[in-house]
Amino acid sequence: MSATELQPDGVATESSGEPSAVAAGIDGPRPLPQLGAYAVPETFGYRLKSRLLGSPLDTEALEHERLGNPTALAIFASDCISSSAYASEEILRVLVPAVGIAAFSLLVPITVSMLVVLFFLTLSYRETIKEYPSAGGAYIVTLDNFGIIPAQVAGVALLTDYILTVAVSTAAGVAAIASAFPEVGSFVLPLSLLSVLIIAYGNLRGLRESGSMFRVPTYFFMLMMAIMFGIGFFRMAIGDLPHASVHNHALLPFGTVGGGVLMGASLFKILHAFSSGGTAVTGVEAISNGVPAFRKPEWKNARKTLMFMSLILGSLFLGLSVLASHMHVAPYQSGYPTVIAEVARLVFGPSIGGKIAFYAFQAGTMLILLMAANTSFADFPRLASFHAGDNFMPRQLTKRGHRLQFSNGIIMLAVAAALLLLVTDAKVDHLIPLYAIGVFLSFTLSQAGMARHHIRKKEPHWRKGIFVNGMGALLSFVVLVVFAVTKFTHGAWFIILLVPLMVMLLVRLNRQYESEQVELKEDAMAAATAPIMRRHVALVFVNELDSSAARAILYARTLMPDELRAVHIAVDTERADQLRDQWAGLAISRIPLELMECPDRRVTKAAVDLVAAELDGETEVSVLLPRRVYRRWWHRLLHDSTAEQIALAVGRLPHANVTTVPFQFERVPTKVDYDASSHTH
């Protein structure tokens, strides 16, 4: 330790043979070499990742970007507003086969009733934004007011819906392309999968400059909608709007019109249609999840943006429903052209300008739908990281990846959405029955949580708060029940089963994590001060007498164990004899060589038996495994992995400690090399 003494005056440090002599040359000591100056080659996987995703980002680069309201609107609203692209169509899909042409008369009233729900949800979320301006949304609100298990329900419900948002939005986005170019129609599934892949890739790389990227599609879509409405309502006012042909065999088959207020539709059908329209309000929660991203005062800006978003969604949804019902635009069986595309096509007309406007409109629809899918790629990983942080989901989800994104969450979402697209053949109407149940479940829980919050805190205006959030909770609950009942047989059963199953799984996972932690933390102090074992035996596993074995023996000698032995598990007795002869002729023969028979060729079993024989409660055993380090990944394929298997098996024994001793085929420069080279000049 004498070399570690600090001598500002430089006296008496240069006793030869001390480590200090390595760096302290004639000019005295040198600065420390840069960390990372030794060029350990990166693995193939890492190089591939760096090539694909770009260079890794420092944690410091994790900046907190504040968004102005217009940008925030563009980012958070794309999910919400984009649902207007398919909500009206989904209502018609239920009504047209049931009541035929009367569906067009029922469309607007059903839309309006959905807007009532939207109105109350907006008011409710205004409260949430003010009371919980931190990130986390429904999960945090439910956690705070109802406890950890209901929070899991709310979270899982939202997570499943984020998966569905990706699936529905990409499918609908591709349907928008197919509406403009029917030739694309047969490639809807592969194109949807490709879109998911591209969006996932973009998110893994990290969309840093997302602000401006988001603004363009969202506002472009709004602009195109505004133009379409302007022309549409003008032509409607002057009675110039054409009617769509209802006699087309590609359309959904028309039902027959009945009498009465509901025109023959059963109340069940009406409710079913209503619940299909409920997909429109998904995404309303997005702003409440991201309040910290707003400029100060965050909650006021977030509230303002929320009002704008709801207003825009409401007018788009209503406007489209009015135009569709006026022109009798019915959905097609194949899913494309979509109702929104048909409305645009009829409004813009067959002229050249109309055609151009129509294509631009379709581009806008597609872009905003893909943006909506992208929003989920921001929300899902973050929510999953909250779950994982509370020990309810695998820990890996809390880790930020190469580019500071929650990479594992992104991959999980992409895989789940892709599976869903495969199962449903990327058909929007197959996905819709699964959609929105989760969102309304989390609406219900978080609004009820808000009502409870008002009761507990009794802050100013708490009575008003209870009314607003209570209404929000009640309405969401009613819609939820309507969803569950009317869409049960169409696929909703899947979500109704999935959510409780997932929650059970998460709770089970949580118990596992908690019990692990108890075991690790209990008696940690006692374990740290426990007396050490009396004896230390080192066993070097030798397969043949080669350089890697020699290196492992050299290393074992530096451990200075009480007993050191080389052991060989003899699968092949001839080879064992050969090794014994070689050993006898060597200088290192002072180290005993032990041969162990292995008649059943189970090397791992023999290794475990051998090590276990040393364990007597007073002995620590070090098992040293020479391990070859290959320079290329495929070199490894040329050899078996017996050493790894031995390490795994022996590592299960108490007080058996496995160390691998690497042998590099091509030496990596070390610190000694640095010091040597810095001395030469």
Partner: protein, 120 residues
């Protein structure tokens, strides 16, 4: 600059001041032994040597040219200094474990992001 100085909190063996180096920062790679220097860089490692009587805290500080060890005797932590902090050190270059080191240097904490990353 909003930097806080902790120089008053612990004794330094070079308290006489540095007229020769006042205000000038030396790249760590150019620090010569036994000279009075001001260096600045990023804290990349911390080593705590617990001891009954006098614990010691060792930091290694790197800039783009090299690294230097800073030894603070009698402490296990420096308030405001964490891994990744940018600090400025003033002291006389000595030796520890064969490499350049500063014993109880005068320490100034710099606002983050004011200097280079210290990465090679």
């Amino acid at each position: 600059m909003t930097a806080q100085s902790f120089s008053a909190e612990f004794p330094t063996n070079v308290s006489a001041g540095f007229p020769a180096v006042a205000g000038r920062t030396t790249p760590i790679g150019e620090v010569s032994w036994r000279s009075d220097v001001i260096v600045s860089g990023r804290v990349r490692t911390m080593r705590i040597l617990p001891s009954e009587g006098s614990p010691t805290l060792e930091l290694t500080v790197y800039d783009d040219t090299g690294g230097i060890t800073a030894v603070f005797t009698g402490r296990t932590a420096l308030p405001g200094v964490a891994l990744g902090s940018h600090i400025e050190l003033m002291g006389r270059a000595g030796i520890r474990r064969g490499y350049l080191a500063l014993l109880n240097p005068r320490l100034t904490i710099q606002p983050s992001g004011s200097h280079g990353s210290g990465h090679p």
